[in-house]
Symmetry: C2
Subunit: 320 residues, 2 copies
């Protein structure tokens, strides 16, 4: 039984993870290496080639591998290039898919990490059997992948689905990375939650556990712990974040009318603290024809596995 395995590679600004996956989403073997240690993509690929070649041998050689899927920041599905990724050291346009394909002689597809997450969820996770959904990744930043009619929406240039950069509060909080004011990522990311807490601490006078920390030590973990202890200010940070995110989700629903929105990443660990206001404000802002229809789901993939699984799922979409 040949070609029943896929390679998944997720390239992050700090680290790269990779693994070999079967059709059911079992990771047979995997590994990790530094991305940022490599000033040049060529030495990065040399190291990756060394690691991955060993894993491929372990599973019986390249004849068993259907394809390589890569999730990477600013990854363009159509061209296979990483284009001007702000958080990578390799500047300009990197033809990563064709470089990998040449190295391993295995067909390779590439997309951005949030699109890969959406395909992973459709293949192995919460979106199995769902033809219309939106994946939102709530981590350091906010990423997204949009699926309609069972297909990922790449847009005319391969860059569709940048929902983290949609302006939700015109003239709102500055996003230092993009210069935009009021984008979703400025509120619904780990950084956003931290900035909301700092703003609340500055503009309000009520007591809070968070006042015991200097501003530079406030982060999403500290805020979560305070909220768990019933700290009112911390709870209201989540309520506010949930309101902004819920209002944004309502707008997204009126765009593509998905059956489900699937949430993934650090912020989802706050559970009902964030999900209750998200749901409330999403429903409140929907036209009646959309109300009480959209499922809000959490990812069903283990966070540690999701990046490899999502990338690997690209391989199953390849034509034989």
């Amino acid at each position: 039984m040949s070609q029943q395995l896929a390679v998944g590679i997720d390239i992050g600004g700090t680290n790269t993870v990779f693994g070999i996956v079967d059709r059911r989403g079992n990771i047979l073997c995997d590994g990790k290496m530094s991305t940022k240690a490599h000033e040049e993509v060529t030495t990065f690929l040399e190291e990756l080639h060394g690691h991955l070649s060993k894993l491929i041998e372990q599973v019986g050689g390249a004849a068993n591998i259907k394809g390589i899927g890569v999730g990477a920041p600013n990854g363009n599905y159509y061209t296979g290039n990483i284009e001007y990724a702000p958080n990578l050291k390799w500047k300009g346009i990197i033809p990563l898919a064709s470089m990998l394909q040449d190295l391993f002689n295995i067909p390779t597809l590439l997309t951005n990490d949030a699109n890969a997450a959406a395909i992973g969820e459709m293949t192995y996770g919460a979106a199995r059997g769902i033809r219309d959904f939106i994946m939102i990744t709530l981590g350091t930043g906010v990423g997204s992948g949009i699926v309609a009619n069972g297909q990922l929406i790449y847009g005319h240039d391969g860059f569709a689905g940048e929902l983290g950069h949609i302006i939700v509060i015109p003239g709102g909080r500055l996003h230092p990375g993009t210069g935009a004011h009021g984008s979703l990522e400025s509120y619904a990311s780990a950084t956003g939650v931290t900035n909301t807490a700092i703003e609340f601490l500055q503009t309000r006078t009520d007591d809070s556990i968070l006042r015991n920390y200097p501003a530079e030590e406030i982060n999403s973990k500290v805020i979560f712990d305070a909220a768990q202890k019933g700290d009112v200010l911390a709870l209201e940070v989540y309520a506010y974040t949930g309101k902004v995110l819920g209002e944004a989700l309502a707008n997204f629903v009126m765009f593509s009318s998905p059956e489900a929105i699937i949430l993934f990443g650090g912020l989802t660990k706050a559970g009902d603290l964030i999900m209750k206001p998200v749901r409330e404000h999403m429903e409140k802002n929907l036209l009646p024809i959309f109300q009480n229809k959209v499922k809000l789901l959490f990812s069903e993939l283990k966070e540690s596995d999701a990046a490899i699984l999502g990338a690997s799922a690209l391989a199953w979409e390849m034509k034989d």
Copy 2:
């Protein structure tokens, strides 16, 4: 040569237009009747059947007709139903496509009017050959149709693409029809332009031709005429409307990354008065990877023909 013609029917709150169209978008014959004169859909269909049967005879009978396409408010492509259309007298769910199919014994598809406009533009107009675009209709209201990968996005329930109801200014102007605050339709429609002018007249003190009119006589035509004469306040109404619309379009681009946005309807008659600020504020709010890529186009269909053409184009999408 049989089945080379299609019937297009556009049902509006006031009137219904219908016609027979060839594959190149020539309207061979057409007609018009009142919608609102009919309290019941049954008498509406009787009258429509009478008119259309004659037209179908004129073109050689039903054997020449590939299908009937219908554009209707709250039209659901999947079910063929009109569902709870606020501006029609027929309440609840009306299975219009199957009723027409039974009457004429011709296959019938139905969708909402803005989706029909998008398909019309793709078949006969400015979107020929474009696989990813967004159609925005700027009339009394704001409608939209979204095409990705060459397919109209209907969403899981058939109601995708309600971009007029996306909230662009949270807490902004009340939309009396929906109760929402700050939806695009409250600003970028004929009514929106009128309300912006009335607000400007109330909150500003500068001279304006528009001050010669009582508030109830201010409308988009009066504002356009004043702007044409160089009236500063009227010009700023367009600048403001264009800003709100441009910011909304930037958000839409970051969703589906279309090759083009096609604008249709009354507001587009203001030409550069509106298009210059639209383009400026769209570009300003896009991430760099999206800038200077998206074409802003006007519809290429004559406004009087577009409704029939758009609806008729549904018929060419039917499987043989």
